[in-house]
C-alpha cells in the first residue's frame, strides 16, 4: 500500500463537499463516497468500498467518520485519516454552530422545510443509482448463495426492521462457514488424488 501525500488536499476537499451535502444518515454518504472515490477518482475499487462499509457499520461511532478514517488511511496513512476526518466533520460543525444561534428563524422557515423535503428525492435517486450498479455486480458473480443473501438481507432490514449490525454478523458467520466448507472440499480432493 503506497502512501500518496499529494492526494491529501483532494481528499480533504472531497470529504468536505460530500459531508456538507449528506442529508439523511450514514448510507447516503457511503453511496456518495462510492461515486466519488470508486467511479470518479478511481482511488479504491468497488469490493474494497463494500468491505470498508461493512467494517464501518460494525465499529462504534458515526458511520461517515469511520469511513473517512479507513479511506484516509488507505490513501495516505494515519495522516490521511486525520485529514479525511477533519474534512468530514468540519461542515456539520460549522453549520450547526451557525444554526444554534439562529435556531428559531431556521425552524420556522417554510422555504428551508420545502427544500429539505424535495432534496430527499434527489438523495434517493443517488442511492438507487449506486445500488443498481452494486446489485448488478453481485448478480455477475453468478453465485446463488450471494444473490439469495442479498435479497434476504434486503427483506430483513427494509420490511422486518432487523438491525444492520445483526445482518453483518450473520453474514460474517455464513462467510466463515463458506470458507470452512471450501477448505474441507480441497482436503478431500487432495486425498483422492
Amino acid at each position: 500500500m503506497q502512501k500518496d501525500y499529494k492526494k491529501l488536499w483532494p481528499l480533504f476537499r472531497a470529504m468536505f463537499v460530500l459531508s456538507a451535502c449528506t442529508f439523511g444518515g450514514g448510507f447516503v454518504i457511503v453511496s456518495l463516497m462510492k461515486k466519488k472515490f470508486v467511479e470518479q477518482l478511481g482511488w479504491i475499487d468497488e469490493d474494497e468500498m463494500l468491505d470498508v462499509t461493512a467494517i464501518t457499520q460494525s465499529s462504534p461511532g458515526p458511520l461517515p467518520v469511520n469511513a473517512s478514517v479507513i479511506i484516509g488511511y488507505r490513501v495516505a496513512g494515519v495522516l490521511g485519516s486525520a485529514v479525511a476526518v477533519l474534512g468530514s466533520i468540519l461542515p456539520p460543525m460549522i453549520i450547526i454552530s451557525v444554526i444554534s444561534v439562529f435556531y428559531d428563524q431556521f425552524r420556522t422557515n417554510t422555504y428551508i422545510a420545502t427544500a429539505l423535503q424535495v432534496m430527499r428525492a434527489g438523495v434517493a435517486a443517488v442511492i438507487i443509482d449506486v445500488v443498481i450498479n452494486l446489485a448488478k455486480n453481485v448478480c455477475k458473480t453468478r453465485r446463488v448463495l450471494y444473490i439469495a443473501m442479498m435479497c434476504i438481507a434486503f427483506v430483513c432490514t427494509y420490511l422486518l426492521g432487523v438491525s444492520a449490525m445483526i445482518i453483518i454478523f450473520v453474514c460474517l458467520g455464513i462467510g466463515i462457514a463458506d470458507l470452512l466448507i471450501s477448505i474441507r472440499k480441497e482436503k478431500k480432493k487432495c486425498r483422492c488424488s
Partner: protein
Amino acid sequence: MPLLLKLFFAFIQVGLFSVGGGYAAIPLIQEQIVNIHELLTIEEFSDLITVAEMTPGPISINSATFVGMRLGGIGGVLLCSLGCIIPSFCICLILAHFYYKYRSFGGVQTVLGALRPAVVALIGSAGFSILMLGLFKSDIFSASLSDFRVVEFGIFAVALFILRKFKVSAVAVILGSGVIGTLIYTVAGMV
C-alpha cells in the same frame, strides 16, 4: 470537574458506545446530556434532534456541536466533537490496518465476499426508506396513495435518469433537486 471536561468525557462515551450509527446514538446522548449531567432540558434536547435531522452530518457530531456551542462556545464545540470522534478514530485505524494487511489472503476474501451482498442490501434498504419519505412523507407501512407527491416523483425520475445516462456529480444532483423542487413549489404557490 469543570464543565467542559465533563462534556468531553460524556461525548467520548457517546462515541464509544453508539454502535450501528445514526439513531442508535440518540438515547445515549440523551442519557449523558439530559439524565446524568443535566446539561440540557428535555425540550432543548428535542430541539437539538430536530436541528440534527434537518442538517447534513452525523447526528452525534451535530449534537456534540450543538451542546458544545450552547454550553461552552467554540471551545466547547471543538472539545465535544473531539471526544465524539476519538473512539472511532482509534478503533477504525486498527481495523483498517489489519484489513489492508490481510485482505489479499484467499480465506479473508471468501469471508469478505459473503459480507458484500449484505452491504448492498443495507444500502438499498436505506435508499428505499429515503425514497418513501420523499414520495409519501412516511414509511412503507403507513404510506397511502393520497399522500403521493407528484413533484418529488418527477424530480426523482429525472435525477435517476440523469445519473444513469450521464456522468454527473451526486452533489450537483442533490443540490439541483433541492433548488428546482423549491422553485416548482414556490411558483405553484404551495409553500
